[in-house]
């Protein structure tokens, strides 16, 4: 334990959120990083939409792998290699279960949600999108679900179309049928907006798109930690998420794709592991999922991700969602009641993200002052500059909640905001 850490029992009791069997105080003890002080205050970590903290189970799984299990996979006949291969494949099955995918070959390990989108844009996109074609995205996408499509469209002479949003930060669903009539080759949409918290009606979007035979990619980077995901129920063609936002390590992400689509797609990167045989004349590619996993993968990352998903499943994603919803309601009420505070993103369906502004005070200054109170929030454009442009603001401050946050921490945020106003009074 670091020298500046404070044992949990010295904290004042934590206000629970009354989810039966959900003991947030006990849960917080699973996260070593939360037990510390920052600038002389207990750490209040409210930047979970950027990245989440890691439970002991994840940290231990990674250490255990490097201490006792490390070897390259699919290579050796020796004990450790076989063991590492088995663990890596077990991690794939854990992800399959988490997403309720029909087949484990539909689970491709990548570096991040960003890499997964790039894979689909470069492999599926380059074979299906041509000059004069369209790709449809939405006005609330993260840059990672904009730029890969822009690169593709520029290369192919295709056009990027955008489904607009309304003042509450919801998709303009009434505009969707019109944008689909020109038959875009693919629709890419985020499940939950990182900047606004909006939960999009992705099931409905897929249904409408499929009625015109348009495949849909769903960016689940923000959804994986907060919602039960069932790719079969959603009927998603592609679904992507990152490990580090769902309590796993950085450097690992997942692409889910329907088997038939993945089978027809050309490889994304060439190298070891993705081949069956290589001669200088001709290379035969490996089967799924390995065709898309060139080179030695992040084995420890996959194992750490599996540990994270099991941790989430252990608590129950529905319990987590209920707890976070309570925090959202509590936080929204408290912030709305403050003079000069304006919440950006007021969709009817929201995840536990509150983007806000304080009149006359730049978000950057809010972030600095809150930091000195031990409160970590994100300030800036949240890699969603088009969202900022829509609301005609340069930036917001954003508090985003996770399974270990408490009402008491929201109280600390409110006090912190009072302090910000005091400094600027």
């Amino acid at each position: 334990m670091a020298a500046n850490s404070v044992p949990l029992e010295f904290h004042t009791p934590i206000a629970g959120t009354n989810i039966p069997g959900y003991d947030v105080e006990k849960i917080r003890r699973d996260f070593p990083i939360l037990q510390q002080q920052v600038h002389g205050h207990p750490l209040v970590y409210l930047d979970n939409a950027a990245t989440s903290q890691k439970p002991r189970a994840v940290i231990d799984a990674i250490s255990r792998y490097y201490e006792r299990g490390n070897a390259n996979i699919h290579r050796g006949v020796h004990y450790l290699s076989e063991h590492a291969t088995a663990e890596h494949e077990a991690a794939r099955r854990t992800v399959q279960r988490f997403l309720n995918a029909a087949d484990k070959r539909e689970i491709i390990f990548v570096r991040s949600a960003t890499e997964a989108v790039n894979l689909v844009a470069q492999s599926y996109g380059r074979t299906h999108v041509g000059a004069g074609d369209e790709v449809l995205i939405t006005a609330m996408e993260h840059h990672s679900n904009i730029v890969p499509w822009q690169i593709l469209c520029e290369e192919k002479g295709a056009q990027l179309r955008v489904l607009p949003i309304n003042e509450r930060g919801e998709l303009r669903m009434d505009e969707l049928p019109k944008l689909l009539t020109s038959k875009p080759k693919l629709l890419a949409v985020t499940h939950i907006s990182n900047a606004l918290g909006t939960i999009n009606p992705v099931r409905q979007i897929v249904e409408v798109a499929h009625s015109r035979d348009i495949p849909v990619l769903i960016d689940g980077a923000q959804a994986a930690p907060h919602l039960k995901i069932d790719v079969q129920k959603l009927d998603a063609d592609f679904y992507v998420f990152s490990g580090h936002k769902v309590y796993g390590p950085t450097g690992i992400g997942v692409l889910y794709g329907k088997l038939a689509l993945l089978e027809a797609m050309p490889p994304y990167q060439g190298g070891g592991d993705m081949i069956r045989s290589v001669t200088f004349e001709k290379t035969l590619y490996n089967d799924l999922p390995y065709k898309f996993e060139a080179g030695t993968p992040d084995i420890a990352g996959a194992i750490g991700l599996a540990a994270a998903l099991k941790y989430v499943e252990g608590l129950g994603i529905d319990n987590i969602a209920a707890h976070e919803h309570d925090l959202l309601v509590y936080g929204t009420e408290a912030l709305s009641a403050m003079d000069g505070v304006r919440i950006i993103g007021t969709a009817a369906q929201k995840a536990a993200v509150i983007s806000f502004l304080i009149e006359g005070i730049h978000p950057h200054d809010i972030g600095t002052i809150l930091d000195r109170e031990g409160i970590a929030v994100r300030t800036g454009h949240h890699c969603a500059q088009p969202v900022m442009q829509f609301f005609r603001i340069p930036a917001t401050a954003r508090a985003s909640f996770a399974l270990y946050n408490t009402r008491q921490e929201i109280d600390a945020l409110i006090e912190g905001i009072e302090k910000v106003k005091e400094v600027f009074a």
Binding site: H362, P363, H364, D365, T368, I369, R372, H381, P394, K419
Partner: protein, 148 residues
């Protein structure tokens, strides 16, 4: 709160709320844009150079309290100075906000109120954005400058 007070000094807050020389300069013969892509701060600096002398200087744009106050006080400090004097002042200011001034605050005059920035390394870019933009305008660069 003490280092916060050191950062957000009254003079800085006052300049951020009522920035000086905050206007377009109709007679400007040099102009540059500065942008911090991480936080979206964006300024335009206008210059009226007569020979080597900064006859007039102004700015417009949006940003945090630190960047706006810095831009405001910069325009006051460099007005009437030569190009070389302005560049020298930027060097001294940069040393001040990065904590390399070794206690020598006199040379920067009123700008010494920005010494507190050195305790907040991520805010150095806020304090220097307008200065980088000024430098680009002095050098007659056409492209906008970025802190990244």
């Amino acid at each position: 709160m003490s280092d916060l007070r050191e950062l957000y000094q009254d003079v800085i807050l006052e300049h951020s709320k009522a920035p000086r020389n905050y206007r377009e300069l109709p007679k400007a013969n040099h102009k540059a844009e500065g942008y911090n892509p991480l936080c979206g701060d964006h300024f335009t600096v206008y210059l009226n150079l007569e020979g080597d002398k900064i006859q007039d200087v102004s700015f417009q744009g949006s940003g945090c309290a630190i960047s706006k106050a810095s831009a405001s006080m910069m325009t006051q400090s460099v007005k009437g100075k030569s190009k070389e004097e302005a560049k020298k002042l930027f060097e001294q200011f940069h040393e001040l906000v990065t904590g390399q001034a070794n206690g020598n605050r006199e040379s920067v005059g009123k700008l010494a109120v920005f010494a507190g920035v050195s305790e907040f390394p991520v805010r150095v870019k806020c304090a220097t954005l307008a200065w980088h933009t000024l430098q680009a305008a002095l050098e007659g660069k056409q492209e906008s400058v970025s802190t990244e």
